[in-house]
């Protein structure tokens, strides 16, 4: 019996799942939104009207309303300017770039940790499983933002610190899922055969368990991306995000708060883009999840903060 090439099988299945999704309105809408944002993120230096300002260079634009250079939209600056006269549109575009970048990295980090912990726990079982799951429970009961907040407060703000903080906040859910997958996969015939033939644990984990466990994780990733973007923006809003002059949507919104009564454009535009980005990710995630396995709805929730503790004690519960 030929052992199926698990990874290509997984990706193939995933691809085949994706194609019919394009018929679903939700998916298409999300795809378009995210696509637009990604395009902006990638091409920010080229499509921003003032790329240098986007990256942080100050420019004192003058206008009668504000000495500080916060000017309303005009032909020169379609979205107006923010403090120190920078073009708001360019700042927003670069801010989207930051958001998308960090979110993807955070999710990758969380997945890596989650896979490591979850697969180990699920595959080896016993004490290892218990111990790792207790640790996971502890992290899972930390409200996401609070933990990230503490980490960044201690480490100081900055791109990497935010990355680690959020990554370490988000991995527990991935671990749970990975563990469930490992538990299910390790009982499959080809795994048992491999074990019986003396294949090393590490090899089994790498060649059989891992590729098959990735598929549900991909779904969870798409569901969680929106929440990660929100969390990152939230941290930045509190001042715990990337260091200036790096553009960041949360930072821009925070800056706009004091001027809310005088500079409406300052708050409005970055928020709109941020919301669209989050909605886009959510639409994508939910439609993928509904397509792949609607049963996961209860398990993964709708990118909501916190998951109940009881579920893990095997409490019989109707969904």
């Amino acid at each position: 019996m030929k052992v199926p090439n698990a990874l290509s099988g997984t990706l193939g299945r995933f691809g085949r799942t994706l194609r019919p999704l394009f018929h679903e309105k939700m998916f298409v809408a999300g795809f378009v939104m995210v696509g637009a944002m990604v395009v902006i993120a990638v091409f920010a230096p080229w499509i921003s009207p003032y790329p240098a300002q986007g990256e942080g260079q100050t420019a004192l634009t003058t206008c009668p309303q504000s000495a500080a250079g916060i000017c309303p939209p005009s032909w020169a600056h379609l979205f107006g300017t923010e403090q120190t006269g920078r073009d708001l549109m360019s700042r927003i575009f670069f801010g989207i770039r930051t958001s998308v970048e960090i979110s993807l990295l955070v999710v990758m980090l969380a997945t890596a940790i989650g896979l490591a912990v979850g697969l180990t726990a699920g595959y080896f079982g016993g004490i290892v499983d218990e111990a790792l799951m207790r640790v996971t429970d502890v992290f899972l009961s930390f409200p996401h933002l609070i933990l990230a907040l503490v980490i960044v407060a201690v480490l100081g703000p900055g791109f990497n610190d935010v990355l680690y903080a959020l990554g370490f906040t988000w991995w527990p859910s991935f671990a749970r899922l990975a563990r469930a997958s490992a538990l299910e996969i390790r009982n499959r015939p080809y795994v048992k055969i491999a074990k019986a033939s003396g294949v090393s644990n590490r090899s089994i984990l790498g060649r059989h368990i891992l590729p098959n466990a990735i598929s549900p994780l991909l779904v969870m990733i798409s569901v969680d991306l929106g929440a990660v973007v929100l969390a990152e923006a939230g941290l930045s809003f509190l001042g715990l995000g990337v260091r200036p002059p790096t553009a960041d949507l949360g930072v821009i919104i925070a800056e706009s708060a004091n001027q809310i009564t005088t500079a409406w454009w300052y708050a409005l535009f970055p928020g709109i883009f941020l919301t669209v980005l989050v909605i886009g990710f959510n639409l994508l995630g939910d439609s993928i999840r509904d397509r792949v396995d609607p049963r996961l709805r209860g398990f993964m929730g709708t990118s909501f903060i916190g998951r109940p503790l009881a579920g893990r004690l095997g409490l019989q519960r109707r969904e």
Binding site: V150, V154, G234, T261, Q316
Partner: protein, 349 residues
């Protein structure tokens, strides 16, 4: 069953313990110079010495942990470096208000979200249903710190209804309308002391903050209620009711609802816990003091919303807030599970 409760309580305790361990690690072991971190901005060498003595940074790790842990157990969360008061005092001052806000948000989410969710489930794929689905998608995605600002923009600046922020609309409100401190929560205390005028103004000033805070929970509740109702209506026992000619209204409102609402009510409890984070943002934007959000903002080194880099975060304060928030979170989870156990007698252990 008693065993189960004990196990859950023990688990909750371990989670809190784990939280303490993590915060200990983050504050004592991770930073290069914990004493400097704790000392605040521009510490003098004597200060650093004092801090090192106070927190025992020069002791072996386990001793440090013991100092830390026993302190927390006693209720001593350290001293705030910025405000220079015991953290526990500050947190206890702030907690009732924040909890009230979170509770109100959860209540609003239930009151608005559940009926809307039922409506949506009843007329699947109709215009109303689609509108509600889109609405809840949006509600869930909008960043709370942004929607609050926009609401301020539209209602305060634009339409001139609702104050910009602060309890009662003004930072001097309580000098004009003093309220006795009974529970520590303005909303409750004003009510309890019979000061209805003040209560009215307080609630009026909370309209925008609560609207901001409840948007996300309302979205979640609508979706959950809808899904739960639809799922319940597919169950066999509903089929039985239909086969026996029970009128549709009655099936929905009585038989399906009771079953469908159970998970939704559970999640309301979790929503309450989850709202604490939103509370941080809302208290910040609307300047609702005292509150956990304001504490965090203070702890981060700035007085009002701004973006200056934190030069010297108030570690004891932030840690204190974090620990307390986690405890509230864990306790709420535990309570929710216990209530579920009581209500749904089918759950076996």
């Amino acid at each position: 069953m008693g065993w189960y409760v004990a196990r859950r309580a023990l688990l909750s305790f371990f989670v809190v313990l784990g939280t303490i361990v993590i915060t200990f690690y983050l504050s004592h072991l991770l930073p290069g110079n914990p004493a400097a971190l704790y000392a605040g901005s521009n510490p003098s060498p004597e200060e650093i010495q004092r801090i090192t003595q106070q927190y025992g940074f020069n002791q072996p790790v386990l001793t440090q942990f013991w100092i830390y842990f026993s302190g927390i157990f006693r209720g001593d969360l350290g001293t705030s470096t910025i405000v220079r008061q015991p953290v526990s005092t500050l947190v206890l001052q702030a907690l009732p208000n924040s909890l009230t806000l979170a509770a109100m948000a959860a209540a609003i989410a239930g009151i608005i979200g559940i009926p809307l969710g039922i409506l949506a489930s009843r007329s699947r794929n109709s215009k109303l249903d689609n509108f509600l689905r889109i609405f809840s998608m949006g509600a869930v995605a909008i960043p709370q710190f942004w929607s609050g600002l926009i609401l301020q923009l539209v209602f305060f600046s634009g339409l001139h209804i609702f104050p910009l922020g602060a309890y009662g609309g003004s930072l001097f409100f309580f000098q004009l309308h003093p309220i006795p401190t009974i529970t520590g929560s303005y909303v409750i205390d004003a009510l309890l002391s019979g000061n209805f005028v003040a209560e009215g103004q307080i609630l009026w000033s909370l309209v925008l903050p609560l609207a901001t805070l409840s948007a996300y929970p309302v979205g979640v509740v609508i979706r959950q209620t809808r899904a739960s109702m639809i799922g319940t209506l597919n169950q066999d026992y509903i089929r039985t009711a239909r086969a026996y000619g029970v009128p549709r209204r009655e099936i929905e409102m009585k038989y399906a609802l009771k079953n469908a609402l159970a998970p939704v009510l559970v999640s309301l409890g979790l929503i309450f816990a989850g709202s604490l984070i939103g509370v941080v943002f809302v208290e910040d934007i609307f300047v609702l003091q005292p509150g956990l959000g304001s504490l965090i903002r203070t702890g981060l080194g700035v007085g009002t919303t701004s973006t200056s880099i934190i030069s010297a975060p108030d570690i004891p304060l932030i840690l204190g807030v974090a620990i307390v928030t986690c405890v509230v979170y864990v306790v709420t989870n535990f309570a929710v599970d216990m209530i579920q156990l009581l209500v749904d007698r089918r759950i076996t252990v």
